[in-house]
C-alpha cells in the first residue's frame, strides 16, 4: 500500500516539476516586457540597450545619441516629475527649464501632460501621467548634432478609418498641426510618402521641404495619431517613431489588486471547507444516530 502510494506520488510530482521547468524557459522566450519591481512594465525595444535600475528603465542608442527613459516619481506634480526625470537621465545637459511646447493628451490609461524642450543640440519630449499618487514619466531625449527629433500626439478628427485614403486624410492634417505647434510654420504637402511597416497600414512616413521627415502611427483604438518629427537625418524617423511609440503605447501600469485575489481565494477555500465540513458533520451525526439505534436494539434484545 505504502509503496503504491509513493509510486503514485512520484508519478504526480514528475509532470509538475517538468511543467515548472518548462515555464521558466517560456518566460525567457517571451521576454518582450521588462517587468520592474514596482507596478509597471515596458516592452523591450529591439536594437536598443536597456538598463533597469530601481523603478527606472533606460533604453539607449549610442550611435544616434538617443535615449528613452521611463521612471516613477513620488509626487503629485507632473512638471516636477518631468524635471526630476530629466535631471536623472544620464549624459543629458539641458540649459533651459522652459519648454518650447506643453499640453495634454487624453488616452485610455489617463491624461498625459507633455512638455517639449529644445536647447542647442538637446531635444527632449517628455510625457507624464499622474495615477495612484505617483507620476509615471516617459521621456525621449537626443543630443545629436546631426538631427533634431520630437514626439507629439494629436487626437484624430476622423473616426474608424476604413481605407488607406481615410488614414492619410486623418494623418496629414495632424502632422501639419504638430509641425506648426513645434516650429510655428505651415508645411506644404509631403514631397513623398510611404508605409515603413508594410504589414500595418496605420504607419505613414512622409518627407517635406526643409529636410523634414515625419513618421506617424494612427492608433485607432484611442483615435490618436502619434507623430515623430525629425529634422536632419531623415533615415531614422521611422525607427525613432517605432521605438518611442513601442514604449509609450506598450507601457503598462499593473493595478495593485492583490486583496481581491485573497478575497477570491477565501471564497474558494471557504466553500470547499463548508462542503467537506458539512459532509464530516453529517457523517458524525449519522454515526451517533447509528449508535443510539444499536443501543436501542441491544436493550430490546
Amino acid at each position: 500500500m505504502l509503496k503504491r502510494t509513493l509510486l503514485l506520488l512520484c508519478v504526480l510530482l514528475i509532470p509538475t516539476l517538468l511543467i515548472s521547468a518548462q515555464d521558466d524557459a517560456s518566460d525567457d522566450d517571451l521576454g518582450s516586457y521588462l517587468r520592474l519591481n514596482s507596478n509597471f512594465s515596458v516592452p523591450e525595444i529591439t536594437g536598443w540597450d536597456s538598463t533597469i535600475e530601481g523603478e527606472t528603465v533606460l533604453f539607449s542608442r549610442e550611435d544616434i545619441d538617443a535615449q528613452i527613459y521611463v521612471r516613477i516619481v513620488d509626487t503629485l506634480d507632473t512638471d516636477l516629475a518631468i524635471e526630476a526625470a530629466i535631471a536623472d537621465v544620464g549624459a543629458i545637459t539641458l540649459e533651459t527649464s522652459e519648454p518650447i511646447l506643453e499640453g495634454r493628451i487624453g488616452r485610455l490609461d489617463g491624461t498625459w501632460n507633455y512638455r517639449i524642450f529644445s536647447d542647442a543640440d538637446t531635444n527632449i519630449s517628455a510625457y507624464a501621467l499622474l495615477q495612484s499618487n505617483q507620476v509615471y514619466v516617459v521621456l525621449f531625449a537626443e543630443e545629436s548634432p546631426d538631427y533634431d527629433a520630437f514626439h507629439l500626439a494629436k487626437r484624430s478628427t476622423t473616426n474608424d478609418p476604413a481605407t488607406a485614403e481615410d488614414i492619410a486624410n486623418a494623418v496629414n492634417p495632424a502632422v501639419v498641426e504638430v509641425v506648426a505647434d513645434l516650429t510655428g510654420e505651415t508645411i506644404s504637402d509631403p514631397l513623398s510618402s510611404r508605409n515603413p511597416v508594410e504589414s500595418n497600414a496605420l504607419w505613414i512616413e512622409s518627407s517635406y521641404d526643409n529636410d523634414l521627415t515625419t513618421a506617424s502611427y494612427y492608433y485607432t483604438r484611442e483615435n490618436i495619431i502619434y507623430v515623430t518629427v525629425v529634422e536632419g537625418n531623415t533615415d531614422i524617423a521611422a525607427e525613432l517613431s517605432d521605438a518611442f511609440d513601442s514604449v509609450f503605447l506598450g507601457f503598462v501600469i499593473t493595478p495593485d489588486n492583490v486583496e481581491f485575489l485573497y478575497l477570491g481565494l477565501a471564497f474558494s477555500v471557504g466553500i470547499m471547507l463548508a462542503l467537506i465540513g458539512s459532509m464530516w458533520l453529517r457523517h458524525q451525526n449519522l454515526k451517533k444516530d447509528m449508535q443510539v439505534l444499536e443501543q436501542l436494539e441491544a436493550d430490546e434484545a
Binding site: D23, D29, N39, T254, F260, L265, L296
Partner: protein, 249 residues
Amino acid sequence: MASIALEKSKTSDLELTPIPSALKILTLITVFGLLGTLYLGLVNVGTDVEQGEVQRLFYIHMPAFFGAFTAFGATVFGGFMYLTRRDPKWDRLAVAGVEVGLALSTVNLLTGIAWMRPIWNSWWLWDPRLTSAAIMVLTYAAYLMLRAGIENPDTRRRFASVYGILAITTVILTLVIIRIRPDTIHPAVIGPSPQNAQGEFDATTGVVIALVPALIFYSTIFPITLMWYRIRLENLFDVLAQKKAQVLG
C-alpha cells in the same frame, strides 16, 4: 463513475465499511493535485501586466466550472440510470453530483465576482453569462431544497432524477451563451465568439501551463473524489434508514 456507484448496490446489502484503499489513494492524489495546481496558478506563472494579481483567480475560476460540469454530468447519468433501472445507487450518484457541482459552480461564481470588482469596476452586472451562471447555481440549490422536502424515498428519487436531467439545460445555456449573445462582455477563452472572431486560444505559454493541468485535475480527479465521499455518506443515510425501520418498525 459507475464503479463508484457500484460500491454498494442494494440498500439491503448496505453496512458501514472502512474507506477503501482506492479512495485513500485518490484522496492523496487530490490533495497533491490541488496543491500542485495552486502552485502553478498562484506562484509559478507570472503576473498579468494588465490585470495584476487578481488574474490568478482565473486558474481556479474556469477549472471550477469544468469540475461543476463533470459533477452535473454525473447527475444526468445517475438520473437516467435510476429512471431506467430503479436502483437507489444511481440516485446516490445523482445527489452527490449536485452537491459537489453546486459547491464548484459557487466557487466559479464567487471567484468571478472577486475578479470583476477591480477589472470591471462592479460587484455584479446583469450580463447574459453572469445571469445564466447565477440561474444555474440557484437551480441546483433548489434541487437540494426540494429533494429534502419529499418524504417518500421512491417519489423523492424519481422527482430528483427528472429534475437533475432537466437542470443540465442551465449548464448548457451557461456554456453557449457567450457564443450566441453578442451583448455579453464575458470573454470566451476558447473558440470563436462575438468577442473573439478569430477563434484562437488567446493565451501565452505560461497561462496554458498553469491552466491545462488545472482543467484536467478539476474536471476529473477533484469532483470524482468529492463525489465518492458524498456517495459513501448517502450510503450511510440508507443504512441508518434501514436500521431505523428495523429497530423502530
